[in-house]
Symmetry: C2
Subunit: 334 residues, 2 copies
Amino acid sequence: MYETLAVVGATGAVGRIVLEQLQQRNLPFKKLKLLASERSVGKEVRFNGEAIKVELLAPGAFKNVDLAIGSTPDEIAAEFVPYAVKEGAVVVDESGYWRMDPKVPLIIPEVNPDAANKHEGILASPNCSTTQMVVALAPLHQVARVTRVVVSTYQATSGAGLPGSEELNDSVRSALVGQTHPPKTFQHPIGFNLIPQIGSSKYEGYTSEEMKMVYETQKILGDDGIQVCPTCVRVPVTNGHSESILVETEKHISVEEAKELFEAFEGITVVDDLPNNQYPMPRDCEGKDDVFVGRIRKDISSPNGIAFWCVSDNLRKGAATNAVQIAELLMKRS
Amino acid sequence: MYETLAVVGATGAVGRIVLEQLQQRNLPFKKLKLLASERSVGKEVRFNGEAIKVELLAPGAFKNVDLAIGSTPDEIAAEFVPYAVKEGAVVVDESGYWRMDPKVPLIIPEVNPDAANKHEGILASPNCSTTQMVVALAPLHQVARVTRVVVSTYQATSGAGLPGSEELNDSVRSALVGQTHPPKTFQHPIGFNLIPQIGSSKYEGYTSEEMKMVYETQKILGDDGIQVCPTCVRVPVTNGHSESILVETEKHISVEEAKELFEAFEGITVVDDLPNNQYPMPRDCEGKDDVFVGRIRKDISSPNGIAFWCVSDNLRKGAATNAVQIAELLMKRS
């Protein structure tokens, strides 16, 4: 039984949506505790008509907490998760810090729910760009085994939290009057520009964000043989990550089969009618929980390839929604 | 000898840069004629200190013209090129209409200059997204033979001419105040959005823009065996196309070799220092004539692959600069 639920990072861009999702999905807990850094302590947040005060995230905060959902940066998660677990909470963590720990299952409920059965108090939710891609890969992998993925991302500024979205607006406004807004959140001005770097330089010319797409995909699908070549790019879009994906499979599947597999999979919505200009776009996917797939076509450069375009709200399925779904899964099974 | 040069479409986004390039590069012609549609007839354009009146593009306009550079939409080029040739002009055409005609050489001067030796009055300049990609592929192809290319583009609105760039500004301004600017040039609002469609539905789920990248690449490199899988996407950037490219080669080349090949190739500038946040971006490449290459790294999903990021000013090397370079090539050889 999970009676007391804590939301950690409750006032951030993702934390807010976690609270929204908890209300919408009507999860069966009795008491809600909101935790955040000193800056937000004492703020009141309304939840199901009730005003709840934000408390300090610090050792001792998780006594009597059964389940916690963490939406914090890596360095905060590195610190709080161990004492939360020690104090008796099970933690669903959205940060990148614990994902690759062999003792921590990395979960997308539609893809690998059974991995949640075995944990030692920590369960991780994948990186935003990985989650939407793996949801789209899963139905193809189940039938035809994915051997290789080439992916180029078009990632929204909200991936860097509220400061990212604010910097995009400031940068665009400045550019419209011929000025340059000095970047703080991003490496360079993002208004009317593209930045082909997300995260830091990590491995042989790939960034940390790109390597997450490699390792997390292999871990979630339970197959180290899947080869992934990612390119992650920040684009001047507020919310909603997009991905151009080419997937090669061991067994050949036709475009028609691929479409049927996508359509039948929980959590995927197919929008695919090029002659009528219909395909997923960030402005249409914002505020929705599904992964949207379109431009589904045969890869004309390999015998067993399928190319497609995938968009999802990175704050939702890429973060808050997936974490709440993991919490839901644990509650159902408890 | 090419004594009289005509610029067709002289008042458009690309035509203006053709004139700028003709002045900068100091091409050895004696007389300049400016041609455009009725709307622009009578306008005066300054060239090397002299005011030149725009004349009507119509049969008869090419008498005494030796060489013409055409920057017009396909349907205009379909009409004027035949009578221009009949009246004695050699035409360097930037439209898509003549490119795949087997009698028309398709030229990038750094890549296949010799193809310009044999023509029947028409020479074509490739599609903007193709040109920058093929410039980047050429040095690798010469040494290791390119067998396959997977490319995802991030294409600027100026690719749709001046109306495209104006629509981006209008769309962004509207979005900043929570409104939607009704799209005219693009299929959907482009401000803070992405449109995964450039051109019309053409072949098995691919667009006309994407199929240009397939066929034109094969034609310019003279190798029908090169397999290309393209995804073309419009992004809210004013000027400068970007491309995420994965290339597989018959012969293995190391990242170091690839960098050296790029650096040694005329027309390529390498900007590649990820640890110091250095790579090509549209805002840095605007107004420049080179193709910029960065994020050069081993493809971690295939034995013989190189991945990289490529940016170029689509109005320059992607259009005006390349066409003026073809004219220059013809003049040098005449």
